[in-house]
Subunit: 715 residues, 2 copies
């Protein structure tokens, strides 16, 4: 039987039509549901059951022609996913492995083939052509070991001779004008609406240069006035350009049986309907012109084929062990994965999902921003999320901080970091979340009251250093400016990507910090842009060669490579600890417009994902507002330095600014002191007034020079 | 005693300094916590307890000088809200009403006054001036009826004679230059950091034209070189321009006691630090020049005053009954309210919060968009939220739909509408949420299979009509275009504000539908803009007078008044039911970038809130991208017609377009048929192909004319 299944190998004999067989795709959900049915419903009942799968005609080239069964397969009256075509099947679930092995597969196939043939002969298949695309599934569920044995069959009636191609296959847009293609698409959508189906598997087509008409199979006699030229259509799950998928086989048998003697040749449209990056195209549909062999005069059922080969290419059953993923938690995981894969398959084939999913994210702050960032990360499938916060949940939090509920506020309130972890686990048990209820020491906030406070600060610093080292991306989501200083320094030193978000009342900033070159390259790169990871992208940089920028980052510069971008403190000319500046942006978080944190949190994650898709990651040249009209640098779009949002105007701008050589957080002198002296340097910063950092970086001198210059100017 | 409390009435005798007394502000949370303490901790213990309140020096003019106690009052070592000044107090909680009444209030006050006086004399008050601003709270908690009796006292030591003003008070910016003001602000912030406090209650000041220096009270001797001119500062919670608040009283007593003989006059800065709409100002701080009376030579404690008057203006206790709000749920409500009020008090004094909070919102769709819209509405304090959805929660939903958790997916999944209601209640028990698990009939989706399906459709329509009538704003948040048609028609007919949001893969649209004029005005308004509600705003409208727009809405028109704006279907030249158009925007909701729904959901609510703040509501002229540089029409900013967002570019544009007179949803002919024929018209739409609506509105004719015109052009 195996030898009869036509393979999708390109061109063995040019003139024979060959069909790409279905591959069965059984989601873990299907086996979970089968287990439930077996335990609660079927028990020892081995009688055949009706089940439902579906296939899709919009996959990108290269994916196999899949027939998918998921947990919904047992709900035959349930809905089918949008734009997918349902296929009904018969499930034979045996009670023993022996019964599975000894089941007469030939008889099962012939029984099903006979039903199809009878429906063709009686005309029933004309009225309901879905019978032409049925399947058989033979299973045995070993529920002790969670071994599932199965064998799929997609019955196809065979002509005695080969179906010949009158001419080579053509892609639709080689044959149809743009106008005809648009009309064809219109006509198909109309047919779906008329029949109330998500997809029509088989249909009739009539067209002129001006218009395209479509009808269901049953309307053949009234639809085609002459049979010189007859076009039939099939919703085709195959992605190969030279071959149709399996569903066409039984349609051609029906056509031959019903009208074979009247037809000269038959034109076949394999309708493929792809939507990629938001734009729909049916252009890659394929047209075949075939001559059908004559059927014998007797009405005996033709020979049939259809049992699926196993992964080794031999005729035989398959087995899957699901002992690790039979609980609903695993089910949730595979559903979330499937959803993300759909995004890739249908919209952005070049998307590197693994890069996103495997990113370890450290969220400093579990308030309004932290909650929203965590939720968006979950949506992207990120599995490793760690929270740091020292606050407790208060009664006004849950309506704005979407990981907390009223109950979390009782009894003085749970720790935010811990409650956030609990919630993530409740949302998606597969997440790997951790919480740290700890403070982040801040400049100008002395820690030297006693030996106890000093040791505590040292432990906090060490913990934070360890956490930053263990993660890939650090999100700064606190509600004070000062608390961002220490993680900015540590992450800059460890070359970790930092994504920073801060809120005003109706404005926000979301930014990535500049990512310093690796320490080894930095020491030797006295020439500008000598780092190989940046040279290609920053070739057009307008930064003066070798000159460190002498003024606070300016957005006049374009094409700034990632390693030259500023941090959150680069634009400030005073050290953190003095809360005069940016006070409105940081300290009024609780009185922001409620939508603001959702927008900023979502943008922070989306910006991170876009950066991860860039081949240079955090070293990528910053996109600016001006780049909005240019070809985007990643499959997801721009990779800006900053997004500054203005809710009152519903506007965002994308400034980019250079690192400031006197920055109190990321300048070489600060990093150098931190790397050489460690906590003894940090504790000086914590315990001193802001002038300490300003003296160190030369900001004090700059102030004095500026004042002197001002005096000079106004003499 | 009462007669001794100086009142804040403006100018009785111009030369006497009078102080605005504190008003006690006890949040429900305070009484809740007191109840817990009494029940679990104090029991019959009547000994005095230390508690903590706080006051704020940034309230807008008109608010009383409040000393606030909330549930945190019992956690004396806990944190104080940002920029507020803590005040310690002594709680005397009696076991009986009789004990409350017979407590010797004079003795309590004198005891406290004596402690203050002793601290002044010993110099302890110099080291820790917080003793100068203490309070007494006498309470009795009747926990059977939840009656709370209380009397507040803010002890102040009195001079024998009046304190005289040397000259009239001045507002800071009448006396200080901008440079001095900036330096003053800087110096104060520096002092806060140095002392590690959220606010410094009392301080010393020295200034020149060029600089301002500050020090704590204890540094007096080293700080002031001569005492000819001495300036002291007080963190002043009063908002009146002619009077200082209460905290200054004991400071002046300290100054007189410590240095009285050396001082000629004292300059007092009442430091007031207001942040309004994101910009901080200390300019309204007030400067007084006072001459202090001499103190008697003996060290006897001066007379003291301080018991608060009751609401009738008499000396006596107050009582509050909290039987309705003693459970934690009420506590959550008052916390959420307080948070919103802070937004108004500190940032947007003209914000009409009640208008927002009392808006009844109907959410059609409880998926990604519905969940995010509901969360943002909760953040704004909206209490009445109703969901309509017919879907069940599947395993892939919780990571993207922030009202659901893994558990909601088990056993086939809960109804989204119902689960959303449960979740809102868990987040905020005070919400008034309802869910309807029902379908919305759609054009081109026949309902006439049987009498049962037809009756069901009729019931669904009636239910939807009822729901729309009962709500103020209708959110369209479904994932198909067709399902938006019926609510668009009903809401247009009922003149309800519609906010519509739809997602593509990385693009979205958020829009308000045009709000038709009320039916009675419409019949008589054949002249353009005769409606009084629109005439003022739309006077510069460039729409041709009286001419209905003949082409689908164009964004070339500016200043379109709300009643002329288009709906979701106005830009379409085919009827809903044909899902060719906008397919990518509606049908791929599940494969949107995860952050997109959060952004669009948040913007939909923020746009609604902005519209509600406009005096003309949904009739307001639409703001466009060009208006971003103009004076915004509301305190919250623009009121656009549409926000179209592009996540790949992090960009939003604000197109505005006119209603289309052949629109298949909001045109007069459709509304007229709906209003006259009701369900019999609707069922025709549901059961027919899209040509029915196109024929009705004249779209078919338009198509034919366009085709004829095209033919003519290409002859
Ligand atoms: Zn920096
Ligand atoms: Zn319309």
């Amino acid at each position: 039987m195996a030898s009869d299944i036509s393979e999708a190998s390109p061109s063995t004999a040019e003139l024979k039509l060959q069909f790409a067989p279905f591959s069965s795709a059984l989601e873990a959900g299907f086996w979970h549901e089968l287990t439930q049915k077996k335990l609660n419903d079927y028990r020892l009942d081995e009688s055949p059951k009706c089940i439902k799968g579906y296939y899709y005609n919009g996959d990108p080239l290269g994916l196999p022609t899949r027939l998918t069964l998921e947990y919904s397969a047992f709900d035959v009256d349930g809905s089918t996913p949008a734009r997918c075509c349902p296929a009904l099947g018969t499930l034979y679930n045996t009670n023993t492995l022996d019964a599975f092995k000894t089941t007469d597969k030939k008889a099962l196939l012939e029984k099903e083939a006979k039903e199809i043939w009878d429906a063709i002969q009686s005309g029933a298949a004309l009225k309901d052509p879905s019978i032409l695309c049925r399947f058989i599934l033979l299973t045995f569920a070993d529920l002790k070991k969670y071994n599932f044995y199965y064998w799929f069959c997609f019955p196809a009636l065979c002509f005695k001779e080969a179906i010949t191609l009158v001419r080579p296959p053509s892609v639709l847009d080689q044959v149809f004008s743009a106008k005809q293609i648009a009309a064809l698409q219109d006509a198909y959508d109309g047919l779906c609406i008329k029949t109330g189906a998500t997809a029509v598997p088989y249909f009739l087509i009539k067209y002129t240069d001006e218009s395209v008409q479509m009808a269901v199979l049953g309307d053949w006699e009234t639809f085609f006035s002459d049979t010189k030229k007859v076009t039939v259509g099939v919703y085709d799950p195959c992605t190969l350009s030279q071959h149709p998928g399996w569903p066409l086989r039984n349609l051609l048998m029906l056509v031959a049986n019903q009208w074979g003697s009247k037809l000269d040749t038959v034109e076949v449209l394999c309708f493929r309907d792809r939507t990629l990056q938001g734009s729909r195209s049916i252009q890659q549909s394929v047209i075949f012109h075939v001559k059908l062999p004559e059927l014998p005069n007797n009405s005996a059922c033709p020979k049939s084929v259809g049992w699926e080969k196993n992964p080794k290419g031999a005729m035989g059953p398959r087995m899957v062990n699901l002992s690790e993923c039979m609980d609903p938690k695993r089910l949730a995981e595979s559903s979330v994965d499937l959803n993300l894969k759909l995004m890739r398959w249908r919209l952005v084939p070049s998307l590197d999902l693994d890069k996103v999913i495997n990113t370890k994210c450290l969220l400093l702050g579990a308030g309004t921003l932290g909650c929203n960032v965590a939720r968006t990360l979950m949506g992207w499938g990120v599995r490793h999320i760690t929270f740091v916060d020292n606050a407790k949940i208060s009664y006004s939090n849950p309506v704005r901080q979407p990981l907390y509920e009223f109950e979390d506020c009782l009894g003085g309130g749970k720790s935010k970091a811990m409650a956030a972890v609990d919630r993530l686990t409740k949302i998606f048990p597969g997440v790997n979340a951790e919480g740290y209820n700890m403070s982040i020491p801040m400049p100008g906030h002395p820690v030297n009251f006693s030996q106890t406070t000093l040791s505590q600060a040292q432990r906090d610093v060490e913990q934070l250093e360890k956490l930053i080292a263990e993660h890939d991306v650090v999100f700064l989501l606190m509600d004070t400016r000062e608390s961002r200083w220490l993680p900015t320094v540590i992450a800059a030193s460890k070359r970790k990507l930092v994504v920073n978000a801060a809120l005003g009342f109706d404005t926000f900033v979301v930014m990535r910090h500049g990512l310093k070159k690796p320490p080894n390259t930095q020491s030797i790169s006295t020439e500008p842009d000598s780092s190989p990871s940046c040279s290609s992208a920053s070739s057009s940089s307008s930064t003066p060669a070798g000159a460190a920028p002498a003024v606070p980052g300016s957005s006049l510069f374009s094409n700034i490579p990632g390693h030259k971008l500023g941090c959150y403190f680069c634009n400030d000319v005073v050290a953190p600890g003095d809360s005069t500046r940016d006070r409105t942006l940081d300290q009024q978080c609780t009185v922001s417009r409620p939508g603001l944190a959702m927008i900023a949190g979502a943008l922070a994650v989306e910006m991170m994902v876009s950066i991860l898709q860039h081949s240079e990651g955090g070293y990528a040249v910053a996109s600016s507002s001006d780049d909005r009209m240019n070809e985007p640098p990643t499959s997801l779009g721009l990779v800006p330095h900053q997004i500054r949002g203005f809710l009152s105007r519903f506007d965002n701008v994308l400034p980019a600014s250079l690192a400031f050589d006197k920055c109190t957080a990321c300048s070489p002198i600060v990093l150098d002191h931190y790397e050489r002296e460690g906590f003894s340097f940090l504790s000086k910063v914590f315990n001193s007034s802001h002038s300490f950092l300003e003296d160190l970086t030369g900001l004090t001198l700059l102030h004095q020079e500026t004042q002197a210059a001002e005096k000079l100017m106004f003499v």
